[in-house]
Amino acid sequence: MLPILVSSLIFLGAIGLILTERMDRAIVSFAGAALMVAAGLALGFYDEEQAVASIDFETLGLILGMMILVALLRPTGFFEYLAAAAAGQSRGNPVLLLILLGGGTTVVSMFLDNVTTVVLIAPVTILVSEILGISPVPLLMAEALLADTGGVATLIGDPPNVLISSAAGLSFNDFLSHALPVVVVAWTAALLLLLRLFRVELSRRPSDPGALAKLRPLDALHDRTTAVRVLIVLGLAIAFFFLQDAVGVKSSFIALAAASLALVWIRPPMVKTLETIEWSVLIFFGGLFVMVGGLVASGALTLVGNLTARLASAQPVVAALAVMWFVALLSALIDNVPVTVAMIPIIREMGLVSAVAAPLWWALAFGAGFGGNGTIIGSTANVVVADASRRTREPITSRIWSRRGLPVMILTLVVASLALILFFPHFQGS
């Protein structure tokens, strides 16, 4: 009983500390991992080998590979080009601008890291709305909300999906056949809701509607050769993701092989390229894996899994809905990555007890993905656009966010709930 108590205290303490934001989450996770191993050694429930074995290198490899591709694409100006081109197409119509920027951000973030995409597109969005003379708030919020919603559609679209695919053995095509249809409906519903929620802001006439006609998007793309090379490699990687089931290779291998191909082809200054990789994210993930490994070893998660499994096997649909809404609420309040990492062993335990795990993985993916939309701190993309807006005359506050983001979160979750209820047998098979 003592190992269960101690390991739970260490994990919950770390999550609490991350929530207070008084210490960098990567530091908390790193130190928490060390503490978990120390406690495990002292009480005899967890050792160094178990700690290393609990690290999900499949997830880390996939994320690292995609990060290298993004690091190569980032300095070419491709993201800025895309935002400027989308803006130019809108002819200064705010509604069209929101659809084009939100849609463009979504498509990019289905295949590349949401956060980098938003980090680079948000400043151009602010520029575009400022020279047009309209409020940047609807555009920025739409980008973050739609990118986070769209990211749920693919295996590489957001970190929880990477974690879930690795744990549950789901392929790229599994996501296309299960998550994508739900996301298409949820995304469209979210877009329509945003257009309605922002109807006042969007109906104001731009003070300089002709300003965007003078944009020259190609001038933003200052390294076309490199951009084209990265995009070709990325296209190849995506083709391999499609063929993954037939070829039988792991997602992490595809991503790392693509990254190595791009590096050989482009031969960038390596030290500089590696500087833009967010190592702190990888450390954060690694620490979480080790901490949750301790929770598994102590039996804490088996306990939770056994309790919930009994309920789940009696009412599988209710269990899936409960998991999704519970995870969504947690993901709105804290980072969805620790939530997902902690839920994975619980669902795995439940799967051992009964055959209900398959729909629960999808419930976890939808909950973690859509839940982050509800609050300003719900996802990193939200934090990024809110931070960028602080430099403008209309900073996005927590209140402004919740009034628009919370309805979007609830609507997308309702869509996912209906999908789970109506097509439950589909989610039972993969």
Binding site: I126, L218, A220, H222, R391, T392
Partner: protein, 154 residues
């Protein structure tokens, strides 16, 4: 040669009690880039730079985007103006610290000082800190080159 040999002695300055609007009128009327601000005794208390005023109307995105090569003009921002409320505020709200040199400063010393503080015009004060002149970067640089040219030509 020292700074007092090259400085302008007729300096347009403004009292620290004046409003920003009055200061803007003086800057535009005299087409100058800096307006020294003095107190009742003529002591230099600060300077209003054209650059600080333009910062007020500069959009925040210029610091956010990594490049704005693809934008030809800033659209709605090109027509932004300094608000009435802002114009009524005291000029002291927007002034820079009273960076200056004394009359006996050497020309290269003055140049180094302007370079250090990114100044284009340099107020000159007496021992009591009263404003007695203003030298532009061009005044200082050209005077230096001329004096050296004379020396080496001899």
């Amino acid at each position: 040669m020292q700074i007092s040999d090259v400085m302008k002695r007729e300096v347009i300055s403004i009292d620290q009690g004046a409003s920003l609007g009055q200061a803007l009128d003086m800057l535009t009327r005299h087409r100058i880039g800096v307006l020294p601000i003095i107190d009742r005794d003529g002591k230099l208390v600060g300077a209003l730079r054209l650059r600080s005023i333009l910062e007020l109307v500069l959009p925040a995105f210029v610091d956010l985007v990594e490049n704005y090569d693809f934008v030809e003009d800033f659209g709605a921002w090109e027509r932004s103006a300094i608000g009435e409320e802002r114009r009524r505020a005291p000029v002291a709200d927007l002034m820079d610290p009273p960076l200056s040199v004394t009359a006996d400063s050497g020309l290269l010393r003055a140049h180094a000082f302007m370079r250090q503080h990114d100044l284009h015009d340099l107020p000159v004060v007496d021992d009591e800190g009263r404003l007695i002149g203003l030298a532009s970067w061009v005044d200082v640089g050209i005077a230096f080159l001329e004096s050296r040219g004379r020396d080496t030509g001899r």
